[in-house]
């Protein structure tokens, strides 16, 4: 299967907005909007306990779902160890977060528009030697507050919690954290450890996105409409 069709399959909210899966992402959007009534969520981070649970797929589709609701969204790829956002949206990864942080380019240069209306992305840029320090720096705080002025919502993609400390660091800078759990894959112990790691730095865990739920478990609403 070519890279293009593979990406299209993953951006299902864009390619098949009427599909049940796209509907699921809209449900997620709605539930997030309600969970942030008192304290509006302006920066939302997505992570998982272990790799390959569907963080990037979730964040890409959620970003599109927000954009479809006429929200000005920036998708920030803070997974500098294994960046994927540029691949998913088919944009260049030359200027990105690393470039901004090291002063090689301006914020505006690093922000790229996508084919989805209202959705911009800032890719990760070249892989730096010290991602954790970069995310922990004051410059990161400044960048986030600057971006908050420009966008309604910033979605942040991060590495898995249990692999590196990046997600823990970013979670202290974001209003809310979503934990993606691949159904039938993630062991209870690992899930608990991931939650503890995030709770330790006082991250605001909004809830869990249960990903790749199969058949019966997915429930009947899967088949609603055509």
């Amino acid at each position: 299967m070519s890279q293009l069709t593979e990406n299209k399959k993953k951006l299902i909210t864009d390619s098949e907005p009427k599909s049940p899966i796209a509907e699921a992402y809209r449900t997620l959007r709605t539930n997030l909007q309600y969970s942030g009534l008192d304290e509006p969520i302006r920066t939302l981070m997505i992570t998982s306990a272990s790799p390959r649970e569907g963080k990037s797929t979730t964040i890409n589709n959620l970003a599109i779902a927000y954009a479809q609701a006429e929200c000005k969204v920036l998708l920030l790829d803070a997974d500098m160890r294994k960046p994927t956002v540029h691949q998913a949206f088919g944009v260049s990864n030359r200027n990105g977060l690393t470039g901004v942080m090291t002063g090689h380019c301006t914020t505006d240069e690093a922000i790229q528009k996508t084919h989805v209306k209202g959705l911009s992305v800032m890719t990760a840029g070249s892989v730096p030697p010290n991602p954790a320090e970069m995310l922990a720096s004051n410059k990161m705080d400044q960048l986030l507050s600057q971006l908050k002025d420009q966008f309604d919502l910033i979605l942040v993609d991060t590495p898995p919690v249990l692999a590196v400390s990046d997600a823990q660091i970013m979670s202290t800078k974001c209003d809310g954290v979503l934990l993606v759990v691949k159904a039938g894959e993630l062991k209870r112990g690992l899930a608990l450890r991931a939650k503890e790691q995030l709770s330790f730095v006082k991250a605001r865990l909004l809830g869990v996105v249960l990903n790749q739920v199969k058949g019966i478990e997915a429930g009947p609403y899967y088949y609603y409409g055509n």
Partner: protein
């Protein structure tokens, strides 16, 4: 983890993994079937009937209950006598039977019929003719030797085994074995599936997430499938339930 077995939960698990139950059952039953029809050589059983009845020396037609009872008691004694070399060595002397007295002792069957004076002698072998010959010979020798051992002549042969009969295998009983195998492997399959589920330590649904992480599940996203794959799944089956938002908790 909730150890309590919830029937509904068990049914859900079985429904999800029914193919594994079916696979184990079918393979197991098939294996039993093939084994019992192809690998186990059929065994045939030949039998003779003897009656233990003394009292001929009293003469006349007189049925004495004590006499009958003592005859019945004698059967137990005979049962042991027949399993001694005293009888079997004589049988084994016939070379055409091709057997030893030890083998005879272990394979001969001696059963009295429910408190009667009738005794069934049986012998099972893969060759029916051989079994019939042996059992006939044993009966004859037994009848011959008992008066010498017990000093009473009270064993009579009722019927001999018919050497030329078309035999029906006494075992294996293939149908029975397959039936038992089916039930056993069905239980085995169900057990395996439940055990696998019990040891499955992963988070599978919103209930697991709530129980373990104490976090709300904001959404359950189904596995992304191509439209072709989706067309194959039961659309109409679930339509009546449309509108429910299972696994979605508004927080």
């Amino acid at each position: 983890m909730n150890v309590e077995l919830d029937l509904k939960q068990v049914m859900t698990v079985l429904r999800k993994k029914w193919w594994l139950v079916a696979l184990i059952t079918i393979l197991g039953t098939l294996a039993v079937g093939i084994y019992s029809t192809q690998f186990v050589k059929p065994v045939y059983k030949a039998s003779t009937k003897l009656i233990v009845n003394s009292g001929s020396e009293i003469g006349g037609f007189k049925l004495d209950l004590n006499l009958i009872n003592s005859n019945i008691s004698l059967i137990s004694t005979y049962k042991e006598i027949i399993r001694t070399p005293a009888i079997m060595d004589i049988v084994a002397e016939h070379p055409e039977l091709g057997t030893t007295s030890d083998e005879l002792i272990s394979k001969i069957g001696f059963n009295s019929v429910n408190g009667t004076q009738v005794v069934t002698l049986s012998y099972a072998d893969q060759n029916y003719k051989k079994a019939a010959k042996i059992v006939n010979e044993v009966s004859a020798v037994f009848q011959q030797e008992i008066p010498k051992i017990m000093k009473v002549d009270n064993v009579y042969l009722l019927n001999e085994a018919d050497v030329n009969k078309q035999p029906v295998p006494f075992k294996p009983n293939s149908k029975f074995q397959v039936a038992v195998g089916f039930v056993l492997f069905l239980l085995c399959g169900i057990g395996t599936v439940l055990l696998l589920d019990f040891f499955d330590d992963t988070l599978k649904n919103a209930a697991d997430v709530t129980a373990v992480l104490e976090l709300p599940t904001l959404v359950a996203i189904p596995t992304i499938r191509t439209p072709k794959e989706q067309a194959g799944s039961g659309l109409s089956k679930n339509k009546k339930k449309a509108g429910e938002t299972y696994g979605v908790t508004a927080n």
